[in-house]
Amino acid sequence: MKMLGAEVVIECLKAEEVDIVFGYPGGAVLTLYDALFKTDFPHILTRHEQGAVHAADGYARATGKTGVCFATSGPGGTNLVTGIATAYMDSIPLVAITGQVGVSLIGKDSFQEADICGITTPITKHNYLVKKIQDLPCVMKEAFYIARTGRPGPVLIDISKDVFNDTLDFVYPETVCLRGYRSLFAGDSNQIDLVIEALEKAEKPVIFVGGGVNLSGTAEEVRRLVDVTGIPVISSLMGLGCIPSDASEHLGMVGMHGTYAANMATIDCDLLMGIGVRFDDRVTSLVQNFAPEAMIIHFDIDPAEVNKNVRADFKVIGDLRWSLPLLCEKIAERNMGKEQWARADWVGLVQEWKREKPLASSLPAGGIRPQAVIEKVSELTQGESIIVTDVGQHQMWTAQSYNFNAQRSFLTSGGLGTMGYGLPAAIGAQITLPEKNVILFTGDGSIMMNCQELATLADNGLPVKIIVMNNQVLGMVNQWQRMFYGKRYSHSSTKGCTDFVKLAEAMGVAGLRVTKSEELDTVLEKALKMKGPVLIDVLLPETEDVLPMVAPGGRLDQMVLRGIIG
C-alpha cells in the first residue's frame, strides 16, 4: 500500500511498540503532525522541545522502554540538544526525530536549517539524515535497534521535509543489517571463574553498583549476590535503588558527597567489584587515589569503559543479564557461608564506620532541615514511588536521605547534571506509570529552567507532586563559593519577586507553601493525598551544606564532615 513518508514514521513507531511520543510541531514536521492527527497516535505536546526530550528520557528511565520525541528543524532540533546530551551521558535509550528542510535547500543556510546531525554527533550513539524515502523504514528499524541494544543511548533521525511528503510501498524490515555494530550479550565465562577466585582470596571486598544495574534491570541478581555473600555494597548516584538504601550491607553512595562509610570502605578495601559503573570523576575524585589498595574487577557491557578511568585487574564484558546470573550461580555452587565471603572483622569495621558517622546536618535548630523534608516523604511513600530530582544540593540530599528500594525508581541527571531535567522527566514517568506516585524534588533555581512544563502537567492532569526545596539560592554554587571562594556569593541568589505557589496556580497546578517546620508533616501528608498535580514550596534556610564533601582532587577519606556555616 502506498503511504506518505509521515505515515511510514507512524507505522514504524507502531511496529516498535511505541505507545506515546513527546514533541512540538513546526514547519518541517507539519506533514508528520498531520499523520499524528489522522492516525490519532498518542502524542504529548510539551511547551518546549527540551521538555519533550527530557520527558521521553523520564519515560525511558522509569520503564526501560525507548523514549521517542519529535521536533521541527532548526531551533526545534537545537532545543533538543541538552536533553540528548543528558540521555547520552546516562546511557538512556531514546529516538529523537527531527524535521529537516527540503532536500534541495540543505546546505544553503535555508530558513530554519541547522545541521543537527553535525551538532549531535558527539552526543548521540548514532544519527541519520534521511533524504530518500526508500531509506526511511530501514533507518527507523536500525535507530530503535541501536538505541536499545548493547549499551543504550540516544539516536537522532533527521528527516527532510520532502521525505515526509513522498510516498512509498511500506514494508517494515524484519532484521537490521549493520556490519559494524556489535551488541554483545554473553562474554567470556572463564573471566567469571577468575573473579570468583579473586573474591575467595579477598579479605576486604566491596561491591560497587552503578547505573548499568538499573538500566539492565538486574537489581534482583545484585540482591541475590549480596544476600549470599554479605559483601558490603556501595553505590553510585545512578546505582541507587538497586539495593534497598537501608539494607545493612548497603553503605550508601560513594564519591564527592558519599557517606563516610562508603568512602572509607573504598579507600580501605582490597577488592572492589564494579558492576555497571563507569568510574566517573565525581565518584573517584583523583583516580590515582581511588581504591589504592584494591584489586579492581569491572563488569560492563561496553568494552570501552574498561580501563578508561580506572585500570581493571579483571574484566567481565557482557550484558549484566548474562554475567550476574552466572556469577550468582557459580557463587552458589561454592557452598560457602557469608562469613567466608565477607569476613567478620571487615563487616564489623564497615558497620562501625556506618554507626560512627551517619549523615548529619550542620544546621542549628529552628529552620526546616532539607533532609527532614526528604525523610518525611520517604516515610510517607515507603519507597513505593518514582523519585525525580533536578540538580543541586536538593539532588544530593535526595540521594542521601531517601530510602530507595526499587530499581528504576530514582530518575536524576547524573552524568550531565542538567538543571531543568526534573519536571519534564517526571511528566514522562507519570504518563507511563499512571498508578505510581511520582515525586519531584527540585530547587528554586532548577524549577525555573523548564517551569513552562507546569502547563503540560496540568493540562494532562498528571498527579506529579513537586517539592520545591526553596533555599532562595543556587545552593550548590553557593556552597562552593562558601567553601572555596571566600564566601563571595557571586550571582547565586534567587531572592526576588517570584512566587512559586502563584506560578503553579497560574498554570493550573495546585500550590501549597511550608514556612515553618511544625507545618511540614501535615502539608506533605495533605499534598501527597491530593488527586492532581501539586507544587509545594518549602522554605528552607539559605545556608546548609551538602556533607560529607570531598574537595575536588582530594582523597575519598579526606572528607569535610562538618560545615563552615555562618
Binding site: G118, H126, Y128, I146, L178, G180, R182, P303, V306, N307
Partner: protein, 165 residues
C-alpha cells in the same frame, strides 16, 4: 608512542563526521588520517596514525572507534610486518642556477619531477614518512612554496587482509 591503525568502515554518509567527531571529543592525538575506497564497493579504509602515551590509551582509541556504528573492523598494523607509505607533492623554487642541483637531490631520493616551469618545479615522492621529512628538509634550502602530503597508508605483508586479521 606512535601506532598505525587500519580502520574499515561502511561507506555511508556521515561516517567521516562520526570518526572525526569522536577523535575531537575524546581528545585523541591523531597525527595522520588517510581514507579511500577498497576492493569492496561499500567499504572505505581509513589509515589512522595515532600518538598515545601507553597501551591503555591505545586500547581506548581502538575501543571507542570500534563503538561507532559504521566501523566494521580495526586492525593494529603497528606490530605486524607491514609496508607504510605516504605520497607527497612539493612545490619548490627552481631557477637556472640551481635547477641541476635540485635534480640531483631528487634523484638521490628517488623522487620524480612532475611539473617544471621557469620559477618552480613540483617533486613527487612516495615512501615512509621519515624519507619524506628528510626530502622536505633538504628542499627547504631551495625555498619550498607548498607541501601536500596524503598521510600514511599501510598494508601488512603476507596473504592476510586487515579485515581477516
Amino acid at each position: 608512542m606512535k601506532y598505525t591503525l587500519a580502520v574499515l568502515v561502511e561507506n555511508r554518509p556521515g561516517v567521516l563526521t562520526h570518526i572525526s567527531g569522536l577523535i575531537s571529543r575524546r581528545a585523541f592525538n591523531i597525527e595522520s588520517i588517510a581514507a579511500g575506497p577498497t576492493e569492496e564497493v561499500d567499504t572505505t579504509r581509513i589509515t589512522i596514525g595515532v600518538e598515545v602515551e601507553d597501551e591503555f590509551e591505545l586500547e581506548q582509541v581502538v575501543n571507542q572507534l570500534s563503538k561507532l556504528v559504521n566501523v566494521i573492523k580495526i586492525a593494529n598494523l603497528t606490530y605486524v610486518d607491514s609496508i607504510q607509505r605516504e605520497l607527497a607533492l612539493i612545490k619548490v623554487r627552481a631557477n637556472k642556477a640551481n635547477r641541476s642541483e635540485l635534480v640531483d637531490v631528487v634523484e638521490i631520493f628517488r623522487a620524480k619531477i612532475v611539473d617544471v616551469n621557469r620559477e618552480t618545479l613540483v617533486v613527487e615522492l612516495s615512501g615512509e614518512e621519515s624519507k619524506i621529512d628528510a626530502l622536505c628538509e633538504v628542499l627547504t634550502d631551495f625555498g619550498i612554496i607548498e607541501i601536500v602530503r596524503t598521510g600514511r597508508i599501510a598494508v601488512s605483508r603476507g596473504p592476510v587482509a586487515a579485515k581477516d586479521m
